[in-house]
């Protein structure tokens, strides 16, 4: 466990901690962590693990850096716009610590590649943005006997836990099934305070380091709940579910499934929208709105904050959550076109109104974002 003079200086604040010392720092150097997602949570997580001297880091992310990332994804810079996130992440981490090894996977984690990628690491940190990948990470970790450092965020609230199925519950013990699509808004719809992933991702880094050192009390069997708006930090107890569909099985019995289908997302839903005639293109909407003899009612189901950024002329704002109690504002005899930002919420609203018996209601495919790209570039994009 020999360290160079430079390393002794670099890690001196760790080395003088009785809980770390030379032995602990050697453990960190010999350890490997896979971070799924190089976004809001992955940014602080990877920065701190690299700085702490975790010897081998893996990063899975298929996405490219976008302007809307820079508000919170502090791994990436303006100069990285349009480039793969794994590349800017690797460059940034190497500039902090050139002694560590960084492997990048510019791909989506899938059931085909998950076991291969994860099995090469000691621990997995989950910083993904969607339920399908979260269930995949969980099931693969339970199957491979890996500890899963969990963090999740929404608006001003965060959740952190450590799932170690050998000693405690897994993600499926907590949430056996995902919410139906649309039931829980995404951060793109609901927003997120930029510093929130900084807090949650840093807590994930602390948990990762504690587990690697074998020190302290990791959040196994506990869920930490954070509300930064109220400055409220709380804990609830988690227990292993005796009926858990995953961690009650033996590793060989655990099979990775089609998680997109499990979570009801992906092409299935989109093609269903098209098949049932639930959707209308922005080109057709533009034609319909221009025909003065047609009785067309355009409804915007976004939030007032989004409406303040941009709108389509003539659209009436009825946020999705208010729709059930504002039905009297909608003329059921006219042709109803519903739009949101990119087509998810409007499809939910369309299904809702069809169920209530409105026959001539359709969802604008691609939402106001498609309208801006294809019809009116004067409408700002966000």
């Amino acid at each position: 466990m020999s360290f160079s003079q430079q390393e002794l200086q670099r890690y001196s604040r760790h080395l003088v901690l009785p809980e770390v010392g030379l032995e602990g720092q050697t453990r960190l150097r010999n350890a490997s962590v896979l971070c799924v997602g190089a976004g809001g949570l992955g940014s602080p997580l990877l920065l701190y693990l690299a700085a702490a001297g975790v010897g081998r880091l893996g990063i899975v992310d298929f996405d490219a850096v976008d302007f809307s990332n820079l508000q919170r994804q502090i791994l990436h810079s303006e100069g990285d716009l349009g480039h793969p996130k794994v590349d800017s992440a690797k460059r940034r981490l190497e500039s902090i610590n050139s002694d560590i090894e960084i492997t990048t996977y510019p791909t989506r984690l899938t059931r085909e590649n998950a076991l291969d990628i994860i099995s090469a690491y000691d621990i997995v940190a989950d910083g993904t943005d969607n339920f399908a990948t979260r269930y995949l990470v969980n099931d693969a970790c339970v199957k491979l006997g890996k500890i899963n450092i969990y963090g999740s965020i929404f608006r001003f609230e965060g959740q952190v836990s450590v799932f170690d199925a050998s000693r405690g519950p897994c993600y499926r013990c907590l949430y056996p099934e995902p919410p139906p699509p649309g039931a829980v808004p995404s951060c793109a719809e609901g927003g997120v305070l930029g510093v929130l992933p900084g807090i949650v991702g840093s807590l994930q880094a602390a948990e990762t380091i504690k587990v690697l050192l074998g020190r302290g009390e990791p959040l196994i069997g506990r869920l930490m709940l954070i509300d930064v708006l109220r400055s409220d930090f709380r804990f609830v107890k988690l227990r292993k579910n005796p009926k858990c569909p995953v961690c009650q099985l033996t590793p060989s019995e655990i099979e990775l499934i089609d998680y997109d289908q499990f979570c009801g997302v992906g092409r299935g839903e989109e093609s269903e929208g098209a098949d049932l005639g639930l959707e209308v293109t922005v080109v057709e909407v533009n034609q319909l709105l221009k025909q003065s003899d047609r009785d067309v009612c355009l409804i915007d189901v976004r939030e007032p904050e989004e409406y303040a950024i941009c709108r389509i002329d003539g659209a009436r704002l009825i946020p999705l959550g208010e729709l059930p109690r504002r039905l009297e504002e909608i003329d059921s005899t006219s042709e109803i076109l519903i739009h949101c930002h990119s087509g998810g919420r409007s499809l939910s609203a369309t299904r809702f109104l069809r169920r209530l018996g409105y026959p001539r209601v359709r969802s604008v495919k691609g939402g106001i974002d498609a309208w801006s790209k294809e019809i009116d570039s004067g409408v700002p994009r966000y």
């Binding site: 997602g37 949570l41 949430y175 995404s186 609830v236």
Partner: protein, 97 residues
């Protein structure tokens, strides 16, 4: 008999943005019924058609999951706290689906 109910962010639209509401109930099931009376639509977001708590939501009484207590029949002591915790998925490349 007063119980503090903590409402998570995604459900606060139904409680006029209130993060905490006070109710008075003897069991968790009674508490949910009362919440529904005061904030119509809230129970539907928490429970499914059969009246059970949805699989992606957890209800905790004083930090304990009611699934491991007596479910909706769990008695509530005076001064207890009820927390409703839904699954959230955000973290990385947030994109509307």
């Amino acid at each position: 008999m007063s119980t503090l109910v903590r409402i998570p962010q995604p459900l606060r639209k139904l409680t006029q943005n209130r993060a905490e509401v006070e109710i008075s109930a003897r069991t968790v099931g009674e508490a949910l019924n009362q919440l529904e009376q005061e904030y119509p639509g809230l129970r539907d977001r928490i429970c499914d058609e059969s009246g059970e708590v949805r699989q992606f939501i957890n209800v905790f009484l004083d930090g304990e999951d009611i699934r491991f207590l007596q479910g909706l029949g769990t008695p509530i002591a005076d001064g207890s706290e009820l927390s409703i915790i839904p699954a959230i998925a955000g973290g990385s490349q947030e994109r509307e689906r």
